[in-house]
């Protein structure tokens, strides 16, 4: 009569730690009379600690290398999930750490900020680990809702409110599209579980698959393209990147993108793995359009964050190039690419957040970097390294990331795509190099003299993040197999 069902809770221990810390912060913050900067700083450090502990737990589980499916098949923990969770956790920890000193002057010094960051990170971890359309939706919404609030946190700023509203409305639309697509897939395959959907496509239908599941797949892909900010669903990215406080932009660029890319890979190769021929053309188009638009639209930008937004669009295009190749090599390339991209982005934002002008303003326009090499030689050196890497110039990590992806594309005989990718990366190199030129070969006009970039705020945590990302970017080629072995393990667990 009574059916006892106790799921395996161990795989969600990292998530539970994050949620518990977030709750503790919320309670402590709500019951403290006035949450001053010192307390918020302590909260942020606590959140940082929780994220790092979760990353460590994921690393241990990754080392053990067991595959566990729990919660009635809703969640899976294998090498792929754990690897992506680690990257997401490192990304959000780094973004939190580099944003710390700027919290006060960006009006983000509210105790809810670290709690919301933690909850968004939890959502991303659920997204990556999802093995069911329902748990995927839960993760997607958890991170989405938390991110909308984080973007809107600076509520007295007009630009921020506009960015948050755009992000929220378009995000809600994408959620609707996901649900619509998921209902189609459920209706035509009879299950929301990834393994069952996969089995339906493997054994179920002879000949062409049903139109309904195709429609569902297209809708789901559209909503994921929104989360990835891939063309033609990229419209929100420049506005949101520009409008948000820089610390938040860093978080947006570092963590959710990685989670969305990891999720796209799992979704395409696990439940829809047998529909490669159907989704490949969609991914090829999205990838092509993202690479080209990201390269050309960024050429005329003057705002640094806007430029980085277009740059992120084109980089997602390169990651999708790997996914489009439709095989283990391509997926490994894409995974390596997004990992390296995360380190490069975090490093770039760490430099931008560290540079301060008079009145504690952050660097905003590219012009603000004029002649900065004379004032902060080390910082501009590091920014130059990241720019070279983003442009894909050897021997930086970005070059190898692109190399693996292009190799996979050529391997899959997607020659046109590879050629367009290389050409657009040449175009993109122009604007990365322009930043370097601005820093090194331009002098400041008298009017902006001593307005920007005079002071520098570099905390211990931020400098640690900087050193880490510079090391990864610069010295990746010395020992690439460290990362490649990990991605290999991850991909193997995805494909068996």
């Amino acid at each position: 009569m009574f059916e006892f069902y106790t799921p395996d809770f161990l795989p969600i221990l990292p998530q539970v730690i994050l949620i518990a810390t977030a709750l503790a912060i919320l309670i402590e913050g709500a019951f403290t009379e006035s949450a001053g900067p010192a307390l918020i700083r302590r909260f942020c450090m606590g959140a940082l600690l929780a994220i790092l502990i979760s990353a460590l737990l994921s690393l241990i589980a990754f080392g053990l290398g067991k595959q566990v499916t729990t919660f009635n098949g809703m969640l899976v923990q294998d090498a792929y999930t754990l690897f992506c969770q680690m990257i997401v956790l490192i990304g959000s920890a780094a973004a939190l750490a580099i944003g710390l000193p700027g919290l006060e002057n960006q009006k983000l010094n509210r105790f809810e900020y670290p709690a919301l960051i933690l909850l968004a990170t939890t959502g991303m971890m659920f997204m990556v680990a999802a093995n069911d359309l329902i748990s995927l939706f839960i993760g997607l919404e958890l991170q989405g809702l938390a991110l909308y609030v984080i973007v809107a946190l600076q509520r007295d700023n007009l630009a921020t409110s506009e960015a948050a509203l755009k992000y929220f409305v378009l995000g809600a639309l994408a959620t609707g599209m996901y649900l619509y697509g998921a209902s189609f897939v459920y209706g035509y395959t009879g299950s929301t579980n990834f393994d069952s959907i996969n089995a339906v496509f493997r054994y179920g239908v002879e000949g062409p698959i049903s139109l309904g599941s195709m429609i569902g797949l297209v809708f789901i892909l559209a909503s994921l393209a929104f989360k990835l900010s891939a063309v033609p669903f990229h419209m929100w990215t420049p506005d949101v990147y520009q409008g948000s406080p820089t610390a938040v932009t860093a978080f947006l660029a570092a963590a959710p993108k990685i989670a969305a890319a990891a999720l796209t890979i799992r979704l395409l190769y696990l439940p829809f793995g047998f529909l490669v021929d159907y989704w490949q053309q969609i991914i090829i188009f999205i990838s092509l359009a993202s690479m080209v638009l990201g390269a050309f639209a960024a050429l005329r930008q003057t705002d640094l964050k806007r430029l980085l937004a277009y740059s992120s669009i084109s980089h997602m295009g390169y990651a999708l190039l790997g996914i489009a190749s439709g095989g283990a090599i391509g997926v490994q390339g894409a995974l390596t690419y997004i990992t390296l991209y995360m380190f490069m982005t975090v490093g770039t934002f760490a430099v931008i957040l560290a540079l301060r002008g008079r009145g504690e303003r952050c660097v905003k326009d590219i012009e603000d970097l004029q002649g900065i090499s004379q004032i902060h030689p080390k910082m501009s050196m590091m920014l130059a390294i990241f720019m070279f890497s983003l442009a894909g110039i050897p021997p930086m990590a970005g070059f190898f990331g692109k190399l693996y992806v292009f190799m996979a594309a050529i391997d899959a005989q997607l020659y046109t795509l590879a050629i367009v990718g290389v050409l657009s990366s040449v175009v993109a190199a122009f604007y990365y190099l322009r930043i370097i030129r601005t820093m090194y070969f331009e002098t400041r006009p008298e009017t902006v003299q001593a307005t920007y970039g005079d002071t520098m705020v570099l905390t211990t945590e931020a400098s640690f993040v900087l050193v880490l990302s510079v090391t990864v970017t610069l010295l990746f080629f010395v020992y690439p197999s460290l990362l490649l072995n990990m991605t290999q393990m991850a991909v193997n667990s995805l494909f068996n």
């Binding site: 949620i19 919660f71 809703m74 919301l116 909850l119 839960i138 958890l142 938390a146 609030v149 809107a152």
Partner: protein, 207 residues
């Protein structure tokens, strides 16, 4: 002889259609919202008829209790002006009727080629209680707290984020507002606020 469930069905669905029509034809927005609530109640009645009592309760609690009341608040606070300019509606009449006519024709075309699976009719006419002796609330609860535990708890966390977000984005600490703090009031003791001073006669006291 019509059975009682059939009578109930026709009463509920008839009232629902009537009130749904009145929602869009009523000139007063407050009446519209009230008719919407009536439509929700009748829909809940229909759910009870097909043994979906949990869904019926949810419909009443969520839609009537929260959504419709929210609508009512919004309508009353915004004080929507009901006067519609008549001239404008007439000028759109021709184009509107042409587009509407085309849409109606297309709907007829679709209905013409529509075929309903023969099994589907049986399923509609004979709803089954698939949970044995348990009611569907019981069955849903048993599923939610076991197989769908993760989704259930995750939805809880999402609602928490929504709540925190709403508070963060709207709550403002105003300066100079006198609030009653009951804890402070109860904790207040005589020795904290009353000071007994021995005043020597003929001299003042510095306080």
């Amino acid at each position: 002889m019509i059975s009682i469930p059939a009578i109930a069905f026709y009463v509920f669905s008839g009232l629902m259609l009537l009130s749904a029509g009145l929602v869009i034809t009523s000139r007063n927005t407050v009446y519209s919202v009230l008719f919407l609530i009536l439509a929700f109640f009748n829909a809940a009645g229909l759910f009870v008829l097909v043994n979906a009592e949990f869904l019926a309760m949810m419909l009443v609690v969520v839609y009537v209790g929260a959504v419709a009341v929210l609508f009512l608040f919004v309508v009353m606070m915004l004080n929507v002006n009901m006067a519609l300019p008549k001239r404008d509606t007439r000028s759109y009449m021709l184009v509107g009727s042409v587009v509407g006519g085309i849409l109606l024709g297309e709907l007829f075309l679709i209905v013409g080629v529509w075929s309903i699976a023969p099994e589907a009719i049986d399923l509609v006419s004979a709803p089954q209680n698939m949970f044995g002796q348990k009611g569907n609330t019981h069955a849903l609860g048993q599923l939610l707290y076991t197989h769908y535990f993760l989704a259930f708890q995750g939805a809880g966390v999402i609602l928490l984020v929504a709540m925190v977000g709403a508070i963060v984005l709207t709550l403002r600490q105003r300066e100079g507002v006198r609030k009653q703090n009951i804890h402070d009031q109860i904790k207040r003791e005589a020795k904290d606020c009353v000071e007994l001073v021995n005043v020597p006669s003929g001299q003042g006291v510095d306080l």
